[in-house]
Structures are given as C-alpha cells and as structure tokens.
C-alpha cells in the first residue's frame, strides 16, 4: 500500500514537473529573448543569461524611447477595449441571464432553451465570415479605427458567451433562496442586490475574465477594423515582425508586457471566484 502510494506520488510529481516545463518554457524563452542582442538570437540557441550571452536592455530602452507613443497607445487601447467591453458584456449578459434563468419565454415555437441556443449560435460562425461585413458597416457608420467601435465590436462578440455562462450560473442558485428573501419582506430589487448578485458573483467574474481574455488576445477584428489610432498590442507585435528583420528582442519585450494585465486581472478577480459559495444554503 505504502509502496504504491510512493510510486503514484513520484509519477505525479514527475508528470507535473514535465508539464510545468512545457507550459513555462515559452515564457522563459521570451523573457531571456527580450534581453538579447541580434547576434545572441541568430547564433544561438543560448539559454542562460550571463553564461551563454550577455544580457542587454536595448529592447527596453527602445520601447520606452522612440517607440514609446506607439506602445503606450496600443497598451492603453488594449486595456480599455478589454476591460470596458467585458464590463458591458457582463452587465448586459446578467440581464439576459437572469431573464433566461428565472422567467419562461415563448416567441412562436421558441422557448428559453431555443433562445439560449439562438444567442450562443452567434459564436458558431467563424469571425472571419463576419469581419468583411463588419468592415463595410463600420466604414459606413464611420466607426473604423475608433475606440467606441472597437468596444462595441468586442461587446458584440463576447455577449453570447457571457449570456451563456451567466444563465447557467444563475439557474444554479436555488430559487427558494430568492423566495426566502421575498418572504422576509424584500422586494425584487432588494432580492437581486442582497441575494442573487452576491451569489452569482463567481459566475459574473468568470464571464468577465473570459470576455477580457478574448478581447485582449483578439487579433483578427483589430487587424481588420483599426489602422493606427485604435490599434492594439497584438497588432503592434505583428507590425514589428513584418519588418525586414524581425526584431525578436523587441517583440519579446512587448510580449512580456502583454502578459501582465490579464495576469493581474486573473489574480485580482480570482478572489471573487468562490466555488463553495452556494454550499450550505439548501438540503
């Protein structure tokens, strides 16, 4: 028994170490690349700073020097689009989610499940199909390369996902808990703010994070609908690699920066994702 436990524990540890290296090595690679010079990259592969190669901060001085305006613009755009569009998508998604979870609808033959499917089905279509039409529409209503336009398009794209997640989450909150609040004398608005909203917080947070990550990582929509003013980090990175000689050290430096905001968002918001929140309420 003991032997078997030790064996499985060892196997598990080895597996986890292997997976950890697999997952983290690319991160390590871009970190050291951001401190390399061109010769270290093309004559490499060099893995160990100070041993294999002499680190330099050339990429960073360029980022904070000549490229500063372009970089700051892309970074603030990325943060603005991701955080605001995710917020709107979660807000609208909660209205739709609460409605779909708590009321019965019937439009023609369509009931709640059909409506949910209709909403999520917008994500079945590959975005590339929509993007030409979006370009035409945006050009017509003068939203191309604008912040409002990008927030709008990411909200549109994230909404099906947030509706889906939030509907599912709210239907897991036992209705009797809301009824109990009604019996206690609290009206609908109080019921929602005292009971439903706090209990739905993990679902809202998860939906927000997923929407945030999607917008943050999006390349296609930003590529087609922005030129300069509303450009985002992924577009900036691409532009850097399409020059004659891709400046890998510079690309890596921007890449490192672009990992940080979603990481902060995940760490801060994880606090709200309490998976045990609903336990204890009912039998």
């Amino acid at each position: 028994m003991d032997k078997k436990n030790t064996l499985s524990k060892t196997l598990r540890t080895v597996g986890l170490i292997f997976w950890g290296i697999f997952a983290l090595f690319p991160v390590y690679w871009i970190i050291i690349t951001a401190f390399k010079q061109s010769k270290d990259i093309y004559q490499g592969p060099f893995l160990l700073p100070f041993v294999d190669f002499q680190p330099t901060i050339a990429a960073w001085t360029k980022l904070m020097g000549p490229s500063k305006d372009q970089f700051i613009n892309a970074l603030t755009n990325s943060i603005l689009f991701a955080s605001v569009s995710a917020l709107i998508a979660v807000l609208l998604g909660s209205f739709a989610g609460y409605g779909l979870a708590r009321y019965s609808y019937k439009y023609g033959n369509m009931k709640n499940n059909d409506l949910s499917f209709l909403i999520i089905s917008q994500r079945i279509m590959p975005p590339i199909v929509a993007v030409i039409a979006l370009f035409a529409i945006f050009s017509f209503i003068k939203l191309l390369d604008t912040k409002v336009g990008m927030i709008l398009v990411y909200t549109w794209f994230n909404l099906p996902l947030t509706v889906y997640i939030i509907t599912d989450f709210i239907s897991r909150i036992p209705r009797d808990i809301e009824y109990a609040a009604a019996i206690d004398g609290y009206g609908k608005i109080h019921q929602i703010f005292r009971i439903t909203l706090p209990l739905a917080m993990p679902g809202l947070t998860a939906a927000y994070l997923l929407a945030f990550f999607f917008s943050w990582n999006d390349f296609l929509l930003a590529l087609m609908l922005t030129f300069r003013k509303a450009s985002t980090l992924p577009i900036m990175i691409m532009n850097l690699s399409t020059t004659d000689n891709p400046q890998w050290w510079f690309i890596s430096a921007v890449g490192i920066i672009s990992i940080i905001p979603p990481m902060i968002a995940a760490i801060v918001l994880d606090h709200f994702i309490d998976r045990q929140l609903l336990s204890g309420g009912t039998r």
């Binding site: 609040a181 019996i183 204890g280």
Partner: protein, 356 residues
C-alpha cells in the same frame, strides 16, 4: 395574525394536478397541521399561501383581503422552507436578522437581539450564530431555517412551516415538538405546518388537515382523527405500526390470511373492512383452538413496548404490546386473541361506519 381561508383552490403543473379543488379555513391563532405523504401536495399548498406559487383556480383570503396575485413580500408571512433556503453568504445570525430588518418590517435593535436570543436558545443554535450555513450539519441548517421563520412569528399574518423538524435527530425532534408548540402558542401565531409524521400532528395540532392526492380527506381535531378516521386512507396514515385491515366476506365472515373466522358480532353490520389497531391484539404462546394461529415473523423490542409482526397465512399482522408480559422468538407458533369489538368498521367505499 389573521384568519386564513382557502376557497376551491386548484394547482396544476402541466398535466399533473397537485392540489385539486381544496378548501379549508384556519382561525386566528390556530395551529393547523397538514398531514400527508410525500407528494400529497402539502408543500404546494404552503407555497400558494405564501405567494410563491399562484393557484390556477380558486381564492386565498387573509382576513377579508383577497391574496391572489399579491407578491410574497407584501403578504407579511413567515416561512420555513423544506429545502431550508438559507442565505449561504450570510452568517447564521444574519440569516435570522433578515426578516427583522426588511424594508417593510424593521424592528428596534434591542428587540431584534432579544428575539434572536430567545429563538436561538429554544432551538439550541446559540453556539452557531457566528457560523456560515456551509459549516453546519443538515439538522443544524434546518433549525436555522426554522429560527428565521420563528423570529417573525408574532408580527406576521401567518407562519408557514414546511416539515420544519423532519431532519432533526429523533431526540431533538421529540423534545422540540413540545417546545415549538409552546412557543407558537405563547406568540399567539397563526400557523400552518406540514408533516408526514402522524405523531407530530397528533401531538401539537389544534386541528389536523389530512391531504391525500391533493384533496382534503379529513379536517378535524387530533382525537377525532385518531378515534374516528374518516376512511381507510386516513386510518392507514395514523398510528405506528399501521392499523390492520381485514376484509369481510359476506355476513360476519372475516378474511384473516387463509382463515375465515365467522363472528356473530358482525352479522348485523354491513361491513366491508374491519380495522384493528395493533394494541387490540393479544398474543398467546400456548395452543388455543378458539384463537387464530400464526407464526412470529419478527419482533422489535422498544423500551417498555414491543412490536411483533405475525404471519397468518400470507397476511402480516402488526401487534404492539407491553414488553413485560412475554417475549417471542422468530418463527414461533402463536395464537392471536383479536379484540374485534374495538375494530373500526368501513363500508364498501372504505368510509368509516358507526356500529349502531
């Protein structure tokens, strides 16, 4: 506190009829127990009274006010849910404070503390006040749910308790039964309380409302329900172990397993079934040709009493008797002395008949 009246109420879920044309009324400060098996429609009835479900047909009145379509928060009622429905993100104390701090019913702070102290002492949950519901056992959660309903008991129109002590351990359930009755009576609360436990119903009700298949089968005081169950369905629900029902074939011939004793006593009575309570049968261990022979199936000694189940042919007969007399072994042949004169007589439709 007010009179509650339910007038020909029907509730359907799709094609399933949960409550069928049900009427009854409950007087001010009366404690009514709704007794029924699981699925009989007890919870549905309470939920309609509380305003969580709307009846498909019929009216509900509190005093003279029609309550149909009035939201739960406007009905001024208290309720303990069968599912507990505690607020999992609040502490136990905050759960109990919730009904006392609602926009419609805010109570002075000192009075709130007093109520909480009183109810938590009654239900033995004082040490749990600063815990979250997830840190409680099932029985403790049920007591918190009951506590949340009781703190408001004296200022509400009606207190609805949906199987409020069903998941407590037997000791606490039995001791709490009386305490709960005393508390509700002291507060002069109007209470409608559901249970599947006949002893709970007999012990604390002013009147018992027996529901079978969504309709009222009997509505009477506990002693009446016990002494004169209106029909076979009611008789089968009251008493533990269950009453023994024998079929009567023709004039005075009773079917007891394979045996058909004829009793002069019943010749004059138009009876289809006879119900004999487990206490009205005595067991003899020596052969007696006048009595009914059987074999002991199993015995359960419980303190001063014992429950003995005896097979006569293929019919199992439940008997309850004091333990002091004698004990029996499984498969022991015995002879049953049935006190037919105490039997309840039911006619062809299963309705109770008087002997006269």
């Amino acid at each position: 506190m007010s009179r509650i009246q339910i007038d020909r109420v029907t509730k359907k879920y799709g094609k399933v009829i949960a409550i069928n044309n049900l009427s009854f009324s409950c007087e001010d400060s009366e404690l009514i127990i709704v007794l029924g098996k699981p699925g009989a429609g007890k919870s549905t009835l309470l939920r309609m009274l509380a305003g969580i479900e709307e009846p498909n047909e019929g009216q509900i009145y509190f005093g003279n006010n029609l309550m149909n379509g009035v939201a739960p928060e406007k009905r001024n009622v208290a309720m303990a849910f069968e599912t507990y429905a505690l607020y999992p993100h609040f502490l136990v104390k905050q759960n109990m404070l919730s009904p006392l701090m609602s926009p419609n019913n805010t109570i002075d702070k000192n009075l709130r503390e007093k109520r909480i102290h009183e109810v938590s002492q009654l239900l033995e949950i004082e040490p749990l006040l600063e815990r979250k519901p997830s840190q409680l056992s099932g029985g403790q959660r049920q007591r918190v749910s009951l506590a949340r309903a009781l703190v408001k008991a004296e200022d509400t129109n009606c207190v609805f308790l949906d199987e409020p002590i069903s998941h407590l351990d037997a000791r606490l359930r039995n001791s709490l039964r009386g305490e709960l009755k005393k508390y509700l009576k002291d507060k002069k609360a109007t209470v409608i309380y559901t249970t599947a436990d006949y002893a709970e119903a007999l012990g604390i009700a002013d009147r018992i409302l027996i529901i079978i298949d969504g309709t009222v089968r009997m509505f009477a005081s506990p002693d009446k329900v016990f002494d004169e169950p209106k029909d076979l369905g009611v008789a089968n629900m009251i008493g533990d172990p269950k009453i023994n029902i024998f079929e009567v074939n023709g004039k005075g011939t009773i079917q007891v397993g394979d045996l058909t004793p004829t009793l002069k006593y019943f010749e004059k009575v138009q009876a289809k079934y006879i119900g004999i309570r487990p206490l009205d049968i005595n067991i003899m261990s020596s052969k007696n040709l006048d009595l009914i022979p059987g074999t002991v199936y199993v015995t359960e000694p419980i303190g001063y009493d014992q429950i003995v189940r005896v097979m006569v042919g293929s019919k199992m007969i439940n008997i309850k008797m004091p333990l002091e007399n004698n004990t029996f072994a499984i498969n022991q042949p015995v002879w049953l002395d049935i006190n037919w004169k105490n039997g309840l007589i039911f006619d062809n439709d299963g309705m109770l008949k008087g002997l006269d």
